[in-house]
Assembly symmetry: C5
């Protein structure tokens, strides 16, 4: 498949990467229903680990089965399926080559009380390679007192990944003692978190949809002084995209908790209008019955294709 001009443009931002990484970036951009558009919808399923099995899969018990998610991502035409080590190992051989895979390299659970938010590194770049993945995923918590540990582990992982031709996707989720609860999704913090991920060498960056709250006093002064519009979600997404190397890094937004399909689509429409490169949608996909999930994902994909 020849590259579209949009994909060629995106690749031009990653010109310092080796051909191995560029190849896998193309695999990601050119797979599924959004192939060639420069947009992407990814199915991530790490909730079994992060929230526990019953909270994650009781609404749709078929989803206890790791194979279910591979098939859902394939049938929905997602660009990729992202999951922790165990899940990918369970289906990687059976579904080999049918959908780009992203190995989520770190994970947390809700059983332990930990002082500083910090996920455990549960997989490795070599695991990703032996499972045939196009990339690795890693979560950072800017705002955590364990920030340095996370950034430094990511440095090692990202260096190894790009040497071995993989794409690096960073989930940048601010939290920790440095931030208020509201501040975790504040527009200034979200933009800052995206910048940090970009500076740490992420190829693709996943953040949460930013709210209109502003957390840092010195940032507030700037928004006011320069009249930067942050009233609508579209405006805020545009700001985050600009803050991420002036739009020269692929930034996608997560979907959050399960909600009504209309609410999901309305949010996606706003984000698409703001220049989002796509969505990464877990619970809203796999906690619905399969038919509903396929319908919703098709609608989301339609918005990204058509812009509305």
């Amino acid at each position: 498949m020849a590259l579209t001009s949009r994909v060629e443009q995106i690749l031009s931002w990653y010109a310092s990467e080796n051909p191995g990484t560029l190849t896998n970036l193309v695999r990601l951009l050119n797979h599924g229903a959004l192939a060639g558009t420069g947009k992407m919808v990814i199915l991530p399923v790490d909730q079994g680990f992060e929230h526990g099995p019953v909270r994650s899969f009781a609404p749709n018990p078929e989803a206890y089965d790791p194979d279910y998610h591979f098939q859902l991502a394939i049938d929905a035409g997602c660009n990729a399926y992202a999951a922790p080590l165990g899940s990918l190992q369970a289906g990687a051989a059976r579904f080999a080559g049918q959908v780009p895979l992203i190995l989520k390299l770190n994970n947390s659970d809700t059983l332990a009380k930990v002082e500083q938010p910090l996920s455990a590194v549960t997989g490795s770049v070599d695991d990703a390679l032996r499972l045939g993945c196009v990339g690795v995923g890693y979560t950072i918590y800017p705002g955590s007192g364990a920030r340095n540990r996370m950034y430094e582990d990511l440095r090692e992982i990202a260096l190894e990944a790009r040497r071995k031709g993989l794409v690096v996707i960073v989930w940048s989720y601010p939290r920790g003692a440095g931030l208020s609860k509201q501040g975790e999704t504040a527009v200034d913090v979200c933009a800052y978190a995206a910048t940090i991920a970009a500076q740490l060498g992420a190829h693709v960056i996943k953040v949460k949809p930013p709210t209109a709250h502003v957390e840092q006093e010195e940032a507030r002064k700037m928004y006011e002084k320069f009249g930067i519009p942050i009233q609508t979600l579209a405006e805020r997404v545009r700001h985050v995209v600009q803050a991420t190397f002036n739009g020269k890094r692929v930034v996608i937004f997560s979907g959050g908790e399960s909600k009504a399909a209309d609410a999901v689509l309305e949010e996606v429409r706003e984000m698409a209008a703001g220049g989002s490169f796509g969505s990464i949608m877990g619970r809203n996909a796999f906690q619905r019955p399969r038919a509903e999930a396929l319908k919703l994902l098709a609608d989301v994909i339609h918005i990204y294709r058509s812009g509305r």
Copy 2:
């Protein structure tokens, strides 16, 4: 020995593993009185380390001798014998090739006060190889503040083990500041612990028999909302098995403290009815006189063969 269709089915869930690991998984499944059934009974003896010698072996002093346990596992037709480094080193040469061995790689004792439950890593994958083991065992304590350390050590061990063709067995025993005492065996926690072990890449998962207690409020809502049956042990075991990749990982249950043979067998019957893949039974085996232990293990094996 040709593979039974059940063993072939089980192997199909591990299709991303290399032939070395599959070979050792077959050795585990095809040894002893339950060979070919897809069920397993394992003899684990780490109590000398975990509880001290007199608490462990005074009831049956022959058991002070490491050779005793090798012979017991062989004569009882167990699928494997699992023990720490010292115990395996003591008998591995004499009993070479007579019973599959699992090297327990981490251990705790009751002499020290430690802030966060965390076992010491007392053996290595290379120790397992030089002793002729089919696999390695590793204990995690989900709920401990030292969770990350354990998960990350396991990541390294599991990656090395599967590269070198070994099976990875994870003891997943929730405990620590994040959990109430009752919560350590709560059904939701037990299911969560099994999921975590599976996501960390375990081939075989050992958990404790779950009680009807539910620890996490958000899990409770799910059990109620979706009417998930957790009244009987069989139901709870079924739930745990489902939570572990929808039954696509071998989950076995431990036997706990010594108790009357009838009580042991009743519990095993319930667990077998719930779809347990087998039992791992230490104190109930080695703290009995040898003849009684052989009888009890024979009865347990019978239940797993016959389903009652």
Copy 3:
């Protein structure tokens, strides 16, 4: 380009380095408008990471784009452009060979509360090599309780860098529980910080302009006893240069917050008079409109060329 006698003199201070490092030191000294003078002006842009995107780039939104800074450094005739991993990766291929690059290897952000000031190591010497850099930059915080960690990481980085022929630039910024706020820029502390950087093996040292405050009682006694002049900025800069191996290491001074062009130039004039080897100027450059920035940098360069 033949070496000037001043560059030859500077090189003579680094005679224990291998030819690879000397080559890159020459590249740094012989590039741009100050080539051959032994003076240098460097454009550093790590504020996106250190202060967040909106605080850094809202005043001049073109600066959100990583390419902007490469072009600014080239057009202004700077000796080098220094930035974190992500920024350099974004433009290193497009601007390959047009301006010497310095990879800033560690970074901090303002989102987390950390007990002891300590930047995360976010890049590696191998990253610098694959991106075509002439050197690496590293920040130490003398006065921090995490001092040892920083000095020891730098030891490893500096050893690897000089083996691989790179120049080592150290940002030496005193801060931490051992110092008062005022003490962070005290003349004695600044001189001490420059000495530490030199002893740790830095080839080029960046400090802040020293104030007339003296922090350590035992240092104050010395200034008084020996009548060392520290009233004017020029005198203090001269003292710092002397303290840094008697002027046998390249010491440059940072520009600090954005301020009026006149104030910038006045400060630079004082520092040049005191024997500064140059300036490293970030916010005063990239937060101005491009034309103004080019003008200011030209004026700064003029001062270093002409001495006034």
Copy 4:
């Protein structure tokens, strides 16, 4: 020298070791006045490090000289001489091949206040090899909050030592926040400590003579329930030997502080009667004038040869 049947029996317990380690075990068992008996007396001198020079050597100033101890061990017919790195380096060349050497790999001193008892690792397996040692010694403190660090360091050391054909001797000295002062030599704790050392892979285990105190409530129940005799030192030693793999590991007992020769011999007689494999005797040997020390060691050896 042909092996005696007793030495052959002992070797049979170590059948999983490689010939290199077996060779060094034979060197240990077949050297000196107790050669071939399966008993051993070892001279350990680490008190210079552990208690300081004046406390250790003032009573017999010749003992300040490292050569003194080599000669004492040789002349007394000890099976081996054990000491820290510096001591062995001082004499290893001069006395090469005259007495089996054991390099004590970790040490503590009394100058520092440390929160958790934890010795520093002051030597390495490679040091032992270059000095011609037959084995390495390592102290663990079961009961310390730093337990995991010690067990894990020992794991690495023991794995490397056995790969390189050395014998591993573990000093197992319970202490730390988990134990009362009295509990450090309690019979249950001593037996537990010996078990732990055996499980960690020790070939030879050194413990202190156990007292009749019982520290752990659950152990006490067992002693009472099963009527295990622990009244005399001989009985307690027998219990410890049984607890250590049913007598299939070489367990030796330390001598403690300097005391009258009669008291030393009486204690040794009890321990020999209980089945001790020998004694490791430092201060009682080197703090006496040389002639007295030789006499005492000869008497101890006589007891182990004759059984009384």
Copy 5:
């Protein structure tokens, strides 16, 4: 130059070292005005790092220049010049082969508040090799809660250094929570510190001149019980030398703060009378004008040659 019998005797104490290390030990003993006497005077200059530049060099501003110290050591006929990484790098090429160099591998500064005294490791054995050094220097603080870290880092450094043929010089300076201020130079503590350094594998040991204070109660009993003379400095030095392997390790003494030449010489005379192997003299040398320093060093050397 043929070896003198005294140097041959000293070498005999180091007979387990490889020829590379012996060669460098001879280079140290056979250089300068004390060549062949078995005595040594070393010029150490790490005060720029340890105390800051102005406190160190304001009294004699020529000393800001790293070259100054090389030349001073050469002209004074010192056995060696010891300094941190930066200082040696500055002059190692220019003065190559003119004076034996010792790279000081760890350093502290006075800017930070640290809980436990612990120097940062600022150089490596490979740095020492590339700079042409005969040995490496390392400071330990017995009495510090960070003792284990220091001893273990030294273990690695010393093992690597002796493999690569270097001499290991240990500065043993007791301090930390385990000691009173007075106790840092107490005679028992000083003797203990010298023993520890010897046991850790030091070839040359540097301690402070011991005072008559006794810190540890159990040591005091010994001094009294055995009537060990510790009234004069000569007696105390003799005790320290005895405590250091009965005089079979080279022990040298530091000079401390700047003081009048007479006081320096008086102290040196006492130490020489007590059997000191020499002096390591920094501030008393480089803080004097060059001519005075040369005179003082000549006088010190004369004392060590003539014994008075």
